[in-house]
């Protein structure tokens, strides 16, 4: 009975709020001097990265929903599960930035990023299971190279800081690399769609 458009509207609403309240987690500046920016830059950098992540999820979530033909219960909860992990990104961004990228918060940030990716894959599976005839989606996401690369990078970013502060830049590079990889929008679904539309 839950219509697809309402599920989309609710998800969009939550994602719009997540991307916007992130700014409320930035620490309050303490002085009015230039060095304040020196103190703030790690948080601002983390803010840019998380903004990108949420923007990518918004974009891909839309592509995903586009293939859905009927909303079912498990799909609904898989979607809330994804929104749950996304909702923790602003909090972790604030913590990692405030700590000037100390190892523990960076590991936790990477863990939340991993769980978002896992929740996204669970949602894809729930959609496929609800509608096994949705060849559109199963064709398009069959390979999943980008997904597996992301998960490997997240695991690396979780583990690296455990070896000490020297692992933090490694984690940072991995997390930025994933974002850049996804910035190139996922044209696989679009390509399959076009193939389908084109005369055989």
């Amino acid at each position: 009975m839950m219509t697809k458009s309402r599920l989309e509207a609710f998800s969009d609403g939550v994602i719009a709020i997540i991307i916007t309240i992130m700014v409320l987690e930035l620490p309050r500046p303490e002085s009015h001097e230039w060095r304040e920016l020196g103190r703030l830059w790690p948080t601002l950098l983390g803010y840019v990265l998380s903004f990108l992540y949420v923007g990518i999820y918004w974009n891909n979530h839309h592509h995903l929903m586009h293939t859905v033909r009927r909303v079912r219960g498990p799909m609904l909860w898989a979607n809330l599960h994804l929104l749950f992990w996304l909702s923790l990104l602003p909090y972790m961004t604030g913590w990692a930035g405030e700590s000037h990228f100390a190892p523990v918060p960076v590991t936790c940030y990477a863990f939340i990023a991993l769980m978002c990716a896992v929740a996204y894959l669970v949602l894809v599976q729930a959609i496929i299971r609800a509608d096994p005839s949705n060849h559109l989606l199963s064709d398009a996401t069959g390979a999943g190279l980008k997904e597996w690369l992301s998960i490997a990078a997240y695991l690396g970013a979780i583990i690296a800081p455990l070896f000490g502060p020297g692992g933090v830049p490694v984690a940072g590079i991995l997390l930025v690399a994933v974002a850049l990889m996804w910035l190139i929008p996922d044209r696989r679904i679009e390509r399959v769609l076009e193939r389908k539309d084109s005369p055989a």
Copy 2:
């Protein structure tokens, strides 16, 4: 004159904001060590529980609205009344978590959960009263076993912590049990709808 779709959109908006700003009530981490997570876990646990509660209300609210055919004044205020109690959930989550589940905040949290349930029942009544021919809804919610079980559990969760910290785990188990009971989506309305659609 208030259209149903606008009432739905407004309610969805408020619920999406409630579920998302909850993260802003999480206490700021004070250090960058693993023991920080030890300090935070009760808040995170409360966060998960409240996220589930709001998700369940969102889901059931949608099912409920689906039966509405005409929006009336009292229905509108009954709806705002429900949103009012839901809006206090993030605040109580923060307080209960920060206190590491001290008895008073847990009792208050259970009280807000009870008021949400009561407000939901009041809304159901307002919808039935506005449209007595809405057999769909009155048939579907006639039994109400789950509703009464929930209210009993909430009352238990309010009272148990009053006997001291030993009552807090009891309250916790009751509150989690209610969430799990409702996670199974309410198929009663769907069933009645399907019965109605099927040829007699």
Copy 3:
């Protein structure tokens, strides 16, 4: 070029956010004892009142928009002007509550309430001016007794606390009275609409 539905959706969004973030202005509890609720009750009371105010504006704003046939520039800015004053309500609620209703914050709260009412009247005028043939609206709001009573009550609530703490309960009664007066939904527009629909 701004469509009415988009103006409505934006206004609804802002109002939904205002009514929900108000909870973030509640002061953090400092202890986990019952006396904490004693410390918090003025804020909770102010929260209820402001929730009612915003709910009433949402409801009446919808009735108002219903009469609009064409959106024009001045109407747009008059609408943003109303949202501006409404957006300050949560802030003033927090201040008045935290101060346990000290005279200055109460006067400021009443001033913001007054400005919301004035902004609403300005919006009504902008709508009438943009479409002088909108007899629907000018008929319906011709009398305006409730509007003038509200403004008088707000002025009283601004002035009373200036005479000392003794004036605060007077202001409180006036502010609550206005809310109760408007809780009865504005049936004037509905009545005129029905009259118009009925055969002469």
Copy 4:
């Protein structure tokens, strides 16, 4: 595959949240006396200015989207890029106000305002590039006098405070002037549209 209406709804949602959470960046009052307002007025002034800015962007963004016929990837990211800079306005408003308009925060505020304007122009270019036959938009924004004046004023407002506190009022006047210039809604697109509709 991203529909225009969903892009609009998401942007409207983010802008509605930005304009509303700005109030959460206002510093908490510390006393309950009149002099508190003396302490708060710079923040309130900055709040009014930023509210105007966001309102103007909302309005013009809508006009812009109106000309779009097909949503493309780069347009999507150009739009997120604009929302990113807009999302920093509340933060900078809070900092500038709290500092009673110290030179560094004012320069930073003007920088964010400049980046919003640049991001808007980039979005316009992305829309034109995605649909070169969109003469509507390229005609309407061809002159761009107002855009260049704004950018010059922003640059002035960035540089002036670098010469010391005496430059702050200069920056303030420039920033207010830009807001006033844009308050007059951009009728160029409307004019071109009307010309097109009218019989040649």
